[in-house]
């Protein structure tokens, strides 16, 4: 019927407009979806994108929340973007995020109620190691046996979720918790609490780290030879080998780097906003971060803005949930559309459609 032909000149303007275009289209199609769910689409869209930032009633709470929700998204997306550039597809950041939280929290809670300033940094380090170790499984299998990292990392998310349930109901369950699932609240354990750094906002160290990491990754990717090696591998494994790099080492590095960042996001979350290990600890940041990475064009600065936009849909989505009774799943569909439209737009930026007729 028709076929796709690569465009000779890809317009850089169009390429930059992609994210904006997809946000716009998501609003329209999302609005239609909301209409059929029986909600006023204009009110809903306004409540997602406008009210959290501008409404007097909500903004004092919402604006810091955007950064708090954005921080794990940005941290994870930064790590993923490096791998994506190298054609290494870690889809299991959600699992690495969970394992980071479990590792860090287990370490801290094992020392409870001992107080020491060493505990907090050590806990963060162990959280990072937890995420890193979890990503080493697909990394090892990929490098050693050419096992597809997409499948392994994704399946390990479900394993991690089972371990999370095990921890919440078993080895990390709060002994003073009257039998309810969930660990002790780390916010009530001074040495391990990821406390707010700006009073009354809830903004914690993770938010600061996410901003620092944006700068760090920008320098890594655009100013450092390692960033170049990753880009080279992603573009041509053969040229990478010719250059003298060991593709396996780079693949291993990309996977463990993204796992480490997901682990960092996890430990920051569990010791901060979440407070405890519990069955419902993970809310999909690891998956949403994939959208953030692409929406940000795998560019650290882009990822920062994409993380903020995506956090807005979370915060605004919560508002619509309790103000307009919009189901939580509707917001997830909304976020999914964003990636869908972005990828479709990209397709048309890079290809044109030719109808095949019989001449």
């Amino acid at each position: 019927m028709f076929k796709l032909i690569p465009r000779e000149n890809v317009s850089p303007v169009l390429s930059l407009l992609g994210p904006l275009f997809s946000v716009g289209l998501t609003m329209i199609v999302g609005g239609i979806l909301f209409y059929f769910l029986g909600v006023d689409p204009f009110a809903a869209i306004k409540m997602i994108f406008w009210d959290p930032l501008m409404s007097e009633t909500f903004s004092t709470y919402s604006i810091p929340q955007i950064f708090i929700k954005g921080a794990p998204l940005i941290l994870i997306a930064l790590g993923l973007s490096v791998g994506f550039k190298a054609n290494v597809w870690n889809i299991g950041a959600e699992g690495q995020y969970i394992m980071g939280a479990i590792f860090g929290a287990s370490f801290a809670l094992s020392l409870y109620p001992l107080e020491s300033i060493v505990i907090f940094p050590a806990m963060i380090l162990i959280g990072v190691i937890g995420g890193c170790l979890w990503s080493m499984i697909p990394a090892f299998l990929k490098v050693k046996f050419q096992v597809n990292e997409i499948l392994v990392s994704l399946m390990l998310v479900y394993v991690a979720e089972q371990i999370l349930a095990l921890a919440s109901l078993g080895f990390l369950r709060n002994p003073d918790g009257a039998g309810f699932p969930g660990s002790r609240n780390l916010n009530q354990y001074t040495s391990a609490s990821n406390a707010e750094i700006i009073a009354g906002t809830g903004i914690h160290l993770g938010v600061l780290l996410s901003l620092l990491m944006v700068i760090f990754f920008y320098v890594l990717l655009f100013r450092h030879s390692l960033g170049f090696k990753i880009k080279l591998l992603g573009n041509s494994p053969k040229a990478s080998g010719f250059s003298g790099d060991n593709p396996n080492k780079l693949i291993f590095l990309c996977l463990t780097l993204s796992g480490s960042l997901a682990g960092l996001a996890g430990i920051m979350e569990v010791a901060g906003p979440a407070g405890q290990i519990n069955i419902d600890f993970n809310v999909g940041y690891g998956f949403t971060a994939i959208i953030v990475a692409f929406l940000g064009r795998l560019n650290p600065i882009g990822i920062f803005f994409a993380g903020i936009v995506m956090a807005l849909t979370y915060v605004g989505g919560e508002l619509t949930q309790f103000m307009l009774n919009l189901p939580a799943a509707a917001i997830q569909v909304f976020q999914g559309m964003l990636l869908f439209f972005l990828l479709s737009f990209d397709l048309f930026v890079h290809y044109k459609i030719k109808l095949k007729g019989n001449k």
Binding site: R223, S225, F228, L232, S236, G241, F242, S243
Partner: protein, 504 residues
């Protein structure tokens, strides 16, 4: 003059064909007389292929007309063309490997023909034109020359009056070339005209009666190749005067730069070639040419030399150091440089700009500052220098490598390596698909660094190139390397014997 017109078999008038903004054929008119071998000469991209595809019915012209046997001729498909008496043998064969030679001829027929009847006529053709083929062999087991003979038989069985041959010698050994020429001459003498496409000047002088030269999509003129030197013909083809690089003056025999010994190296894939019994050495200021038909181990040898493939069965000594276990970067750090055959996706990357492409081969971390940060000012300077020195036509160093033409990208790749001032430069197919002028410049650049003391290993399927600038030559056949001999001492018929020796 009257005689000439009467003799005309095929004629095209003012053929035009555009692809997008590119005019592939611009007002092309040619006249092919009967019983003649008519050359269509031009560089890559001059429009030869477009024109013959129009003649064979694969493409339709935008405007213009053709006559064949004094009648209006406008084939809508190759089938039409064949029915009217035009046959074609493509550069890339279209044979089914799991079928036998005979079955391939059978399935290619437009008309139903009894198997016995066909068998008889195939035998007759193959005997009377020296087209030796074992009809019951599977195509997969045949050499390139034999496959080509199958294609030719398949075309001849339709009794064409005009046979189009597209770059037929590009896959043949010199010996196979000669037998092909005999066949073509006999065909012509018996009344079949041949439209012979090539950019190889010497063979056109040997074979053809007339040559139409194409440049940038237009006809430059019609010449008698027998009355011109290949060089004159070449200058008409490129539209510029050409110079011939001279081989390096003298090798410094006391300074051995590299010696390689390979007992046996198995390929990584089932389609690869096993390298065996390779023993070579190259000295300072010397060019060692390694010839051979494609697919006889060039790629595999190159990988062993660059370090992309490391193998315990290989011994490589570079200035008294064993380097067989070093990776490409480590080899570059001690003075080697490489330019592999595949420009895009191996030597260079299309999606990266020229600056980034300079970074791919960066010996001694020249473009790095402390802690691995990239030194962009140094990188910029170096890349601009290459672009300028090697006359690389580009919009700038931030242009993507894919935006460069093949010839310009090759100049960039060779320039990038030579600019590192290597002590040993190993290059595979440096001028493949490159226009004649750029090719001469690239060869000259290689000779120049040899003259300043570098040792060179030049792997090439272009025999003329090897004979022109190498001090010593050796040939790869089925993964075996012949013993290197002085270029001056070797005779052309010997080369044919060496190259054809093991495969035939």
């Amino acid at each position: 003059m009257n005689n000439k017109i009467e003799n005309t078999l095929f004629q095209c008038r003012a053929i035009n064909k555009e692809f997008g903004n590119v005019r592939a054929n611009n007002d092309i008119s040619i006249n092919v007389r009967s019983s003649q071998i008519h050359a269509l000469l031009g560089e890559n991209g001059a429009g030869k292929s477009t024109l013959v595809k129009i003649i064979y019915g694969l493409l339709q012209p935008d405007s213009g007309s053709m006559t064949f046997l004094n009648e209006e001729y406008s084939p809508k498909s190759p089938k039409d063309a064949r029915a009217l008496g035009v046959g074609m043998v493509f550069q890339h064969f279209s044979l089914f490997e799991p079928l036998t030679a005979f079955e391939n001829i059978l399935v290619g027929l437009d008309k139903e023909l009894g198997e016995k009847e066909l068998h008889a006529s195939v035998i007759m053709l193959s005997e009377s034109y020296g087209l030796e083929v074992n009809l019951s062999s599977f195509i997969g087991d045949l050499s390139a020359g034999e496959r080509q003979r199958v294609e030719i038989i398949r075309a001849l069985i339709q009794k064409p009056k005009l046979l189009i041959m597209d770059e037929p010698t590009s896959v043949l050994t010199p010996f196979e070339c000669e037998s092909l020429f005999k066949t073509l001459k006999k065909l012509a003498s018996e009344g079949t005209s041949i439209l012979y496409i090539s950019h190889k000047l010497k063979e056109i002088a040997d074979l053809c009666d007339t040559a139409s030269v194409l440049r940038k999509g237009a006809i430059v003129g019609e010449y008698d190749p027998k009355k011109m030197t290949p060089r004159e013909l070449g200058e008409i083809m490129v539209g510029q005067s050409l110079f011939e690089p001279k081989r390096p003056v003298a090798a410094n025999k006391s300074n051995k730069v590299l010696s390689v010994k390979i007992n046996e190296v198995k390929p990584d894939t089932q389609f690869g070639v096993t390298l065996k019994n390779i023993d070579l050495a190259v000295f300072q200021s010397e060019i060692l040419g390694i010839g051979g038909v494609a697919g006889n181990g060039q790629e595999e040898l190159m990988q062993v030399l660059t370090g992309e493939k490391k193998d315990r069965n290989v011994s490589i000594k570079y200035m008294d150091n064993d380097i067989e276990m070093l990776n490409p970067r480590e080899r570059r750090e001690i003075g080697l440089a490489f330019a592999p055959e595949e420009r895009l996706g191996h030597a260079a990357v299309g999606n990266l700009n020229l600056l980034e492409n300079s970074l791919i081969t960066d010996p001694n971390k020249r473009f790095q500052m402390k802690m691995g940060f990239i030194d962009f000012s140094e990188l910029n300077e170096y890349t601009n220098e290459i672009v300028e020195k090697f006359n690389v036509k580009t919009t700038g160093v931030s242009a993507l490598a894919s935006s460069l033409s093949g010839g310009n990208l090759q100049k960039f790749v060779v320039g990038r390596e030579i600019g590192q001032k290597p002590s040993l430069f190993i290059v595979n197919q440096p001028t493949w698909g490159v226009d004649a002028l750029s090719a001469a410049n690239i060869r000259q650049a290689i000779v120049d660094i040899a003259n300043t003391g570098a040792a060179i290993i030049l792997i090439s399927q272009d025999l003329d190139e090897i004979l022109e600038i190498s001090n010593k030559v050796a040939f790869l056949t089925n993964g075996n390397l012949s013993i290197p001999t002085n270029t001056m001492d070797i005779k052309t018929d010997e080369i044919g014997a060496i190259m054809g020796g093991i495969s035939d």
